[in-house]
Amino acid sequence: MTSILEVNDLRVYFHTPRGMVKAVDNVTFDVHAGERFGLIGESGSGKSTIALAIMRLIRSPGRIESGEIRLEGENLLALSDEEMRQRRLAGVAMVTQGAMNSLNPVMRIRQQFADGLNSHGETVTVDEAREQLVDLLARVGLKPEAADVYPHQLSGGMKQRVCIALAMSLRPSLIIADEPTSALDVVVQRQVVQTLRQVQEELDAAVILIGHDMGLMAQFASRVGVMYAGKLVEEGPVRAIFRQPEHPYTRILMESLPSLDEKETLQVVKGAPPSAADRPAGCVFHPRCPFVMDRCIQEEPLFREVAPEQWAACHLHDEPAAAHSLSREVAE
């Protein structure tokens, strides 16, 4: 399977007056062509920062410190600003977080769509542009009239769909959707994810869905990556991860899912939520890990393949006696 996106050893730091925030630290992952990839993690774990780094839209005081981001083999970090601008929308499109306000309030939807086309050297007449837009809107389940209104005339779910439609305008090979459902009610959330899935199939584009809801993610993604405090702690096929999470944090995320039977669940150790600002030494998760060992406090675990196609960064895998404590069967 060919990779459409390769992220290697990406580090993005924010140089704030109160110190350096390692928002994304040594993150490595691939997304295959036409794949649905999920990026999951608590708020503040660095998901949006990864997305914005791929778009090269990290703003001061943030900076991409090192690493490589390859889109269809081309290193995006080596492009000029103008070349990168050309890649946006055409090569990689993003549905930004907070879609409630993602559309210019003083502009009709069709005008914004036309701006996207015009900025990429497309020469279409107003009528042609509207026709194209109406077609895209139909794909996300919106009526043609949506092309002619202002954003405030649309509901939250409709705005989100418009953003997805706009992201499709130039048929990019990768679409990143950053928490497209966060402000929506549950029913609309499912609809939007369904729409995204449909779009992905029709366009045959790869999609990275960012979110914090494991259930929604399982419905959508074929592979997921789990972020914790700027680190990718686990990555693998969604089925395998559901069957057998290889990192304690992933397991806790799984168990936060509502289940029908009231089984005993693993509890996170109480304490400060992860903060990229003052990250602990050793494993980032050790202050909250129920299986913490001496080694975890001193030594950072390597991110490595611990089961076929399943990668994790956890010392438990070196301790045959302890490793099975991760297993859900044993916990039950």
Binding site: R85, S102, N104, N118, A146, H152, Q153, S169
Partner: protein, 338 residues
């Protein structure tokens, strides 16, 4: 009730209340100032060689202007006359009608104000937008920020005095005062127009620089705060050209609060312009009011202030009416969305 009619009704009541309160103040305060308005007439008469007894004449004129009656009777009669559109007759410039005197002064003030406000608002907004958008990349242009701060905090009259000293006195490039040269016949010919423009440069500059500084700073900070908006990030993620994002997205949205700012500070601008007129002896409304106050010409003070209040209120109303053109969210209010 239709919310729009209700809105207009509220504004109208507010306008009438403003006029009532300020006219009452303007009626009573000058009458509490010690001094004899008739002295001005007396001086005029003496200048043309009048022979009447001064004391007799003052009494006669006091009766003529109704100043012999109790103040509250004068007050009621003032409103009665005003209701009939009668602003009365000037004391210091007897027997000219106040309305005529104000009408002849109005074009000068209006010209000065419209031109300077338009130029400073447009130029300040555009420069502020560019420099705010470019941030650190703006380079030396960022020096505009401290310069604008200094300009904005300088009172109109200080700047006006500096301009007079430098460009009219030290280097007499521009005339010291007036709206056109003495002896010049007003008319639509090149010589006269050039003369008018030359006279207007310094007063205009003093108003322009101060308000330009303000519009610049205001637009710059608006753009800086708008840069963090989701729709700007989204536009960038769509690969839309930077120039288009600046003008179509950031600037376009900043225009709303910037226009509100114009409405709010209109009174301030007009007030400043009136003082500038005094410094340059520019024959507009401000200069008229100033002279009226000096000679306690009650009817002229009242008429002048009324005119100012009504014009500021009217300008405010026009700006309010322009809002819906800029903001579709207002335009569609009450139409029930799509």
């Amino acid at each position: 009730m239709n919310p729009y009619i209700r809105y207009i009704g509220e504004r109208l009541i507010l306008l009438l209340a403003t006029i009532f309160i300020s006219m009452t103040v303007v009626f009573f305060v000058p009458r509490m100032v010690p001094g004899e308005p008739m002295n001005a007439i007396f001086a005029n008469m003496a200048a043309v060689g009048g022979s009447m007894n001064a004391q007799e004449m003052i009494v006669e004129y006091r009766v003529r202007f109704g100043l012999d009656r109790p103040v509250w009777v004068q007050y009621l009669s003032f409103w009665r006359e005003l209701a009939q559109g009668n602003l009365g007759i000037s004391i210091s410039n007897f027997p000219s009608e106040v309305s005529g005197m104000l009408l002849s002064a109005l074009p000068w003030t209006l010209g000065l104000l419209t031109v300077t406000t338009l130029i400073s608002w447009i130029a300040g907004s555009v420069i502020g937008a560019v420099i705010g958008w470019r941030g650190r990349k703006a380079g030396v242009a960022r020096l505009m920020v401290p310069v604008a701060l200094v300009l904005y905090t300088t009172p109109y009259y200080i700047l006006a005095l500096i301009l007079v000293f430098v460009f009219a006195f030290h280097w007499p490039i521009f005339p010291l005062s007036g709206a056109y040269s003495v002896g010049m016949r007003p008319g639509l010919n090149t010589a006269f127009i050039v003369d008018v423009v030359r006279h207007a440069v310094l007063p205009a500059l003093s108003i322009l620089l101060v308000s330009l500084g303000w519009w610049f700073l205001s637009m710059r900070s608006l753009i800086i705060s708008l840069k963090g908006e989701d729709y700007i990030l989204n536009a960038e993620a769509m690969g839309i050209k930077e120039r288009r994002i600046l003008w179509g997205y950031a600037f376009r949205n900043a225009l709303l609060p910037q226009t509100t700012g114009l409405a709010i500070s209109l009174g301030h601008i007009v007030g400043g312009a009136l003082i500038t007129e005094v410094i340059f002896a520019y024959p507009g409304i401000g200069y008229r009011i100033y002279n009226a106050i000096k000679s306690l010409d009650y009817p002229l003070i009242q008429g002048g202030v009324l005119l100012i209040i009504i014009s500021v209120a009217l300008a405010n109303f026009l700006i309010d009416a322009a809002y819906p053109l800029i903001d579709p969210r207002i335009r569609f209010e009450g139409s029930g969305g799509s």
